[in-house]
């Protein structure tokens, strides 16, 4: 009974995150459409925004193709090529979708723990799926390809947070696999 109460908080958090993902999807789509209708509005928005800058990221590769000193001003949102814009839009959507799938799998695990079916086979599969989704998120998050009319930006950074989370999920899958074996053994003890 106590564990059920404890699990209410992460279950609630999952629902809040669903809302944030939906809100982010709508926000990005609105910007994507508005950027094509009124590109001049985004003149001050630098494309470097697309390069994730956090403490837990390691930039392994970054290349600007413009030779000018103040090259960053050449790559404002309004100057991004259509193909690049579409690529980045779908990249962000894919990231949000993978995060959504990760949270969905996590919610499934929480629900099964509530039903005291913790070491069920489907939880192992859920953790393995979470590993794949988080790994994909980490890869997609790190890639930045922005082609502008006067400059290009290519960068790749390793996103440590989703990478750590993905391997944590893989480790949990292994732990749950052992738990499942013990459960099976217990069930087959007459």
């Amino acid at each position: 009974m106590k564990s059920v109460n404890t699990l209410t908080i992460p279950a609630l958090l999952c629902k809040v995150l669903y809302f944030f993902i939906a809100a982010a999807t709508v926000f990005i789509t609105v910007i994507f459409i508005h950027l094509q209708i009124a590109p001049s509005y985004y003149a001050g928005w630098n494309a470097e925004l697309m390069t994730p800058k956090s403490i837990l990221s390691i930039t392994t590769f970054e290349r600007w193709s413009a030779d000018l000193y103040n090259e960053s001003t050449l790559l404002s949102f309004d100057k991004i090529k259509k193909t690049s814009l579409y690529f980045n839009y779908f990249r962000v959507l894919a990231i949000l979708y993978f995060i959504f799938l990760t949270i969905k799998e996590f919610s499934k695990i929480i629900e099964s723990v509530k039903l005291i079916e913790t070491f069920h086979q489907r939880n192992i599969l859920s953790f393995q799926k979470m590993f794949r989704y988080l790994l994909a998120t980490s890869i997609l998050f790190g890639v930045t390809i922005v082609n502008g009319q006067e400059a290009n930006l290519y960068s790749y950074s390793i996103q440590v947070t989703p990478l750590i989370l993905s391997f944590a999920a893989l480790m949990m899958a292994e732990i749950f696999k052992q738990g499942n074996q013990l459960l099976e053994e217990n069930q087959l003890t007459i």
């Binding site: 099976e184 053994e185 087959l188 003890t189 007459i190």
Partner: protein, 67 residues
């Protein structure tokens, strides 16, 4: 697994049905089936004791080691 459970042999010798045994020792038919089919991973001393008591036999009559 090289351990063979001979519950069905003992049941035949005692002319007792599986249902009767399950009722007498208080374990489910599903568990008796697991035991009979050799799918059981372990057997509790209490279960073994109950089976031996009802079938009037020794644990060695029920369990057999075949390398």
């Amino acid at each position: 697994m090289p351990i063979i459970v001979n519950v069905d042999v003992m049941l035949a010798r005692r002319k007792m049905s599986v249902t009767e045994l399950s009722e007498r020792i208080g374990i489910t038919m599903a568990n008796i089936s697991i035991l009979k089919n050799g799918k059981a991973k372990a057997i509790r001393f209490s279960t073994l004791e109950a089976i031996c008591k009802e079938l009037d036999c020794q644990p060695g009559d029920i369990l057999e080691y075949q390398p």
